[in-house]
């Protein structure tokens, strides 16, 4: 018997969630399992997955936290596109069979849980913070609304990793920085308070940096927060081209297990 979830409306219909199951420690290949879920008005795909966990198969694994599209934990491929499960209404998909996959271009921890260490390592590599030459600031760094407007959109990134999952270059090139890190690099480089452009050049101008973006635009297509990483990367290319003949002091880039090549080439 279908169990209605509290806090939602009437059961409207039943959909089948076709979920990819994979435990790399126990299985050699992933399989798909189908679960019938009674859908009530307002139910999201995350609610559907939690329904499966509570009433059908408690062994199903998924990552989530805020349930309101802020934390970026529940990124997954729903109906063939990277989305946040907590932000995707089941009824809006207008499907009786919904395929749910973990995000691509990441190792899988289990089922719908990707290992995001690559995303965070790349993010860290571009120094995602304001770099200042002065050691002890004496006053607040002032900025005009126009200066903030230059990078405003890129501050909306919630590090869900959907862009890196959709990126075709990341699928082929394991060492590529990826759209998230590059867009964040642009966000800090274009910040009038930042002076760390040359410190980031080692990583950005490497063989697996900004120039490996072939502008497919998939990252911007899937971003659940409306950020346009592809635009950020193109603007970054413009900044690098303008500084093409500028000599700079090389600073070693951060070391990470998957970033060996970048360190060696810089």
């Amino acid at each position: 018997m279908d169990v209605a979830l509290k806090g939602f409306g009437e059961v409207v219909k039943t959909v089948t969630l076709r979920v990819r199951r994979y435990d790399p420690e126990k299985e050699s290949l992933p399989t798909y399992m189908e679960y019938k879920v009674p859908v009530q008005k307002g139910m999201t795909v995350l609610d559907g997955i939690l329904y499966v966990k509570e009433h059908i198969d408690p062994s199903l694994s998924a990552r989530y936290s805020c349930r309101m599209g802020i934390c970026g934990s529940c990124g997954m491929i729903i109906d063939g596109k990277e989305r946040l499960a907590c932000q995707t209404q089941i009824l809006e998909l207008k499907k009786d069979l919904i395929k749910v996959d973990p995000m691509g271009n990441y190792k899988i921890v289990k089922d719908l849980v990707p290992d995001l260490s690559k995303l965070f390592r790349n993010h860290e590599a571009v120094k995602p913070y304001i770099v200042r030459e002065e050691e002890k600031p004496t006053a607040e760094y002032l900025q005009t609304p126009e200066q903030r407007e230059k990078y405003g959109m890129f501050t909306d990134c919630i590090l869900c990793g959907a862009c890196l999952s959709a990126c075709p270059t990341s699928a082929a090139d394991e060492l590529y920085l990826g759209p998230q890190a590059l867009a964040q690099a642009f966000r800090y480089i274009s910040d009038s308070r930042d002076t760390g452009f040359y410190e980031r050049l080692n990583v950005l101008d490497s063989k697996h940096g900004v120039w490996r973006c072939h502008f497919s635009g998939a990252c911007s297509e899937v971003c659940p927060k409306g950020v346009d990483p592809a635009l950020g990367i193109q603007l970054l290319k413009e900044v690098l081209t303008k500084n093409i003949f500028v000599k700079y002091k090389q600073v070693p880039s951060p070391v990470g297990p998957e970033r060996k090549s970048v360190v060696e080439t810089s």
Partner: protein, 134 residues
């Protein structure tokens, strides 16, 4: 060399190939100095059609291109093409086989193959200028 310089040259050579390539194709197709502007001229010899002249006839093309200006033009076009093609291959292969060792192998392989083709192409251009040919 910094990757931004390498890629700047990649984009520039791409544009120059478009300009030089268009100039090359358009000029030989529309401006070649045959009086009747016929691309291919055939004659009925021994009951069959035989190519005997026209703008795109081998000796006509060769006559047009056998001067230092055209030789320099082709040498430049060859340089742009070799750089663009083999740097493009390097990028594609480096993405497919990332890693410092594989990238070194890829870079040097492309450099050597590109150089061999460049020398062969330059030899052809010089032969054309000095009255020889393919």
């Amino acid at each position: 060399m910094r990757e931004s310089k390498v890629m700047f040259l990649q984009y520039m050579t791409g544009l120059l190939i478009l300009v030089f390539g268009s100039f090359h194709v358009l000029l030989i197709s529309f401006l070649a100095p045959t009086p009747d502007k016929i691309l291919y001229q055939y004659a009925n010899i021994a009951g069959g059609h035989t190519l005997i002249g026209g703008t795109l006839f081998y000796s006509t093309v060769k006559a047009v291109y056998s001067n230092l200006l055209w030789g320099s033009f082709f040498e430049l076009l060859l340089t742009f093409l070799i750089y663009h093609i083999f740097n493009g291959f390097r990028i594609i292969l480096s993405e497919q086989f990332p890693g410092s060792k594989s990238e070194k192998v890829i870079t040097y392989s492309m450099l050597i193959i590109g150089l061999i083709i460049y020398i062969y192409g330059s030899r052809t251009i010089v032969l054309m200028l000095t009255g020889g040919g393919l």
